[in-house]
């Protein structure tokens, strides 16, 4: 270049500095990406598998983010990226240190397989996260924290007790569910204390107090916390309100029921479980206490009648005893005690040969099906000799 001063001498050092800085920052970005919280944990777990004799699995163990995905329930749970031992309960010891501890072998796990339910449905927390704080408490902008020992303890509960709140999101309509002692107690209390005289729950009840059907969906900001002690949480509000309604809502007509603290806690768990959730029908739990749709009949032994053993055998083995009792009342068909005296032999013979034809042919038998739930006795296709044997037995009843 010609002799005037160029910028080069002044710019060049800065260009070098910024270029090196550029490289350094990109290197830092790579460092951050590859120094995740979970990577060393996964490496450690691989060793643990080996130490416990799971050589094949250890060899096949690949590093990477793991997730349980079930779009039907909206579950995207990456907890298992760190909580790697969750499904190894049959092999790894229960006292393995967190986060590798296998899931406690709870009796209802079989009905709630991990692959379908994930983790956060029961435990809460932020399933999307792959960092501990974000996953557990969720940080500032996550309103569904994991139910940790500390959180439960702050309300005087164990994790197993507080988690029942989440069980009841789906098991709301059970009268009583095994494993949900606190919620079961609360449901009993609702009935016992007759809460629905003043509160509407699911369309039924009174209107002295507010509707409680979806109490857990109400915005906490709409509640008056000025007389609530401790943290301003709905748990505290509900619990303290149950223990002393007049203190939390001055001037209220809600009586003080004198609940024991554990009762008020149970009721609070129940109230906070009442959310408006939608899930596919196959996830609706079958009610635990089933209203009898059908009593499964175990037939009693038919009475032994000397000389009519063949008939008795046919009665017990050809299906007669599924619909008829002998002396135990109407089942599907009439009780056959004394049938020998009600119908002559010829009648019984035609009947057993073809019951439907007899009903068609005889006007006074026309209303028989109505008496037995619309059911016409099916033709059992008995051979004539068999019919004779049965009649011999029936006659003696």
């Amino acid at each position: 270049m010609k002799g005037r001063e160029s910028f080069e001498s002044r710019d060049f050092p800065w260009l070098v500095i910024l270029s090196v800085g550029f490289f350094a920052l990109v290197a830092l970005a790579f460092w951050r990406e590859y120094h995740s919280e979970w990577a060393p944990l996964e490496k450690r777990f691989k060793q643990i598998l080996e130490q416990h004799g799971q050589i094949e699995d250890s060899r096949r163990f690949s590093l990477g983010i793991r997730q349980i995905w079930n779009p039907e329930l909206g579950v995207v749970d990456r907890c298992i990226t760190c909580h790697l031992g969750y499904d190894w309960g049959s092999v790894l010891p229960a006292n393995l240190k967190e986060p590798f501890t296998p899931h406690s072998p709870l009796p209802y796990l079989e009905k709630h397989p991990f692959a379908r339910f994930g983790c956060t449905v029961c435990h809460g927390g932020q399933g999307w996260a792959t960092e501990q704080t974000a996953a557990h408490s969720g940080g500032e902008h996550w309103d569904d924290p994991m139910i940790s020992k500390e959180l439960a303890a702050s309300y005087g509960l164990s994790v197993g007790q507080m988690v029942q709140m989440r069980c009841n999101f789906c098991h709301r309509h059970d009268l009583s569910t095994p494993g949900m002692d606190e919620i079961n107690l609360a449901k009993k209390l609702i009935k016992q204390k007759k809460c629905m005289i003043c509160h509407t729950i699911e369309g039924k009840g009174g209107m002295v107090g507010p509707e409680l059907t979806f109490h857990a969906d109400k915005s906490p900001e709409l509640f008056d916390f000025s007389h609530v002690s401790g943290d301003k949480t709905m748990f505290n509000w509900d619990y303290q309100h149950l223990m002393d309604p007049g203190k939390v809502s001055p001037g209220t007509t809600m009586p003080t029921f004198g609940f024991k603290p554990e009762e008020a806690r149970a009721l609070t768990l129940l109230l906070l479980s009442w959310k408006h959730l939608t899930f596919p029908p196959q996830y609706i739990p079958s009610p635990i206490e089933v209203a009898p749709l059908m009593v499964v009949h175990v037939p009693a032994e038919a009475p032994i009648i000397p000389g009519a053993e063949d008939g008795r055998k046919i009665f017990q083995t050809r299906g007669c005893n599924q619909c008829h009792t002998i002396g135990s009342g109407k089942l599907i068909g009439p009780d056959l005690i004394g049938v020998g005296g009600r119908h002559p032999v010829e009648w019984l013979r035609s009947w057993l040969a073809d019951p439907a034809a007899m009903i068609r042919a005889n006007p006074d038998l026309a209303k028989w099906p109505d008496l037995f739930g619309g059911i016409v006795m099916p033709n059992q296709n008995l051979a004539p000799a068999e019919i004779s044997a049965v009649i011999a037995y029936l006659q003696k009843l």
Partner: protein
């Protein structure tokens, strides 16, 4: 083999590092990327202290936004049921997803700040006069487009901030007389903020607005050439010692053949003294590279230090408390919250006054300001020229007011928009567990 590679490298790089004056001139006409620059350029234009390269910084930020934005498109679906989850995936599950999203966000904030500073620089140097007026208008439009890009962009995460910010923004639009309701209907594709709104904002954000900005940016650069270069050279032009040569007849295009202007030669190199000149390649290109690196490094550093926030998933049944706009719109929020006036029995909403009228007036005044600038030509391209003192003070004063309003919104407004002085703690907002 090595020979061939070296020669290939030589061919790729010679235009960026010419070894002689002749090569420097050739580089400009042989490399498409460089042909926008003149072969020789006034050194004053290249000075750091003149422009602070704010224009280059704006363009660098927009380039970063375009590239990170394009990559983000591969991980984001503009569907109300999926958008939020995709944001979480970017943060936790996509390799370098945090980098993409954070740098995009920081570059966006940076761009709003830098384009404003760039505009301030142009104003304070009086570089909008005469034939540069059209470019000033294009610049104002680009500023508006930048703000719209930000606005459409932050609906996309579909979190609480997104939903409620757009609720407020579109309700401001509705306050517009006569056509307000229709404009809102058009923007949202309906009466409520839902899937249609998300899709329209998405298309605006990833295609319509960026394309408009790139085209306008190209035009903006083109106008710089047609206007004879940066206004920094005007003082040179006035005080030149060399005799002006007659303007050579050369080709000079305009977009639709509408505008006339100077030739594409900046103050002709033959009109400038030798010592006032420099070579675009490599002197200017080196500085541009420097600015780009600086901008990139700053946005990457910020991305490493601080994650882009994401609030709770959008919930139409619950308004967050407080519900604050991003910092560059906080001054507007202060305005709309305090400019509801009663005239007799009529009450005019702050949405109209603070949200449409005041910004509209500001924008309008900004646009036509050059027409009312009567200062002498010697003020062009000069920082804080004496004769433009009052103009500069006015601009600075308005800027200070805006900054103060932003500061109030940031630091002093709490739940229910009440004032909480620094040191006064906010009341604990109740939560579920």
């Amino acid at each position: 083999m090595r020979e061939q590679l070296l020669r290939l490298w030589e061919r790729l790089s010679w235009t960026w590092a010419p070894r002689s004056e002749r090569e420097a001139g050739e580089a400009i006409v042989q490399n498409l990327w460089l042909h926008w620059f003149p072969a020789k350029i006034a050194r004053r234009s290249m000075s750091w202290n003149y422009s602070f390269y704010l224009g280059v910084a704006s363009a660098s930020l927009f380039l970063i936004l375009t590239v990170t934005g394009f990559l983000l498109m591969l991980f984001y679906v503009p569907a109300t049921g999926q958008a939020y989850g995709d944001m979480k995936d970017l943060q936790f599950a996509v390799s370098f997803g945090w980098w993409l999203r954070n740098q995009h966000r920081w570059a966006a904030h940076g761009m709003v700040l830098v384009v404003y500073l760039h505009m301030a620089r142009v104003f304070f140097t009086g570089a909008y006069r005469g034939q540069r007026f059209l470019n000033w208008i294009i610049g104002v439009v680009l500023l508006l487009a930048t703000l719209l890009l930000s606005f459409t962009g932050y609906l996309l995460p579909w979190d609480q901030l997104a939903l409620w910010a757009v609720t407020v923004g579109t309700n401001i639009a509705r306050e517009g007389p006569v056509v307000g309701e229709t404009i809102r209907y058009l923007l949202l594709g309906g009466t409520e903020i839902g899937q249609n709104a998300l899709l329209r904002f998405y298309v605006l954000h990833v295609f319509i607005l960026p394309v408009a900005v790139w085209i306008l940016f190209g035009y903006h650069m083109w106008r710089v050439r047609k206007d004879g270069g940066l206004a920094a050279i005007e003082t040179l032009r006035l005080g030149r010692r060399a005799e002006p040569k007659p303007v050579p007849t050369t080709k000079s295009y305009s977009l639709f053949g509408l505008t006339r202007g100077a030739t594409v030669q900046v103050l002709s190199s033959t009109d400038m003294e030798e010592q006032d000149q420099g070579f675009s390649s490599p002197e200017l290109t080196r500085r541009i590279a420097l600015v780009f690196l600086l901008v990139f490094n700053i946005t990457l550093l910020l991305s490493l230090l601080s994650n882009a926030p994401l609030e709770e998933a959008a919930n139409p049944a619950l308004t967050p408390n407080p519900a604050k706009a991003p910092w560059y719109f906080l001054w507007l929020q202060e305005l709309v919250a305090s400019t509801t006036v009663s005239i007799g029995s009529y009450r005019i909403s702050g949405g109209l006054i603070g949200g449409i009228v005041v910004p509209g007036i500001l924008l309008g005044v900004l646009g036509v300001w050059p027409l009312f600038d009567r200062s002498p030509q010697s003020c062009e391209g000069v920082w804080f020229a004496r004769e433009r003192r009052w103009q500069n003070i006015t601009f600075a004063a308005i800027t200070v007011v805006i900054v103060l309003l932003i500061a109030v919104g940031l630091g002093v407004r709490g739940p229910y928009w009440r004032l909480y002085w620094p040191g006064q703690p906010w009341p604990q907002m109740p939560r579920g567990l």
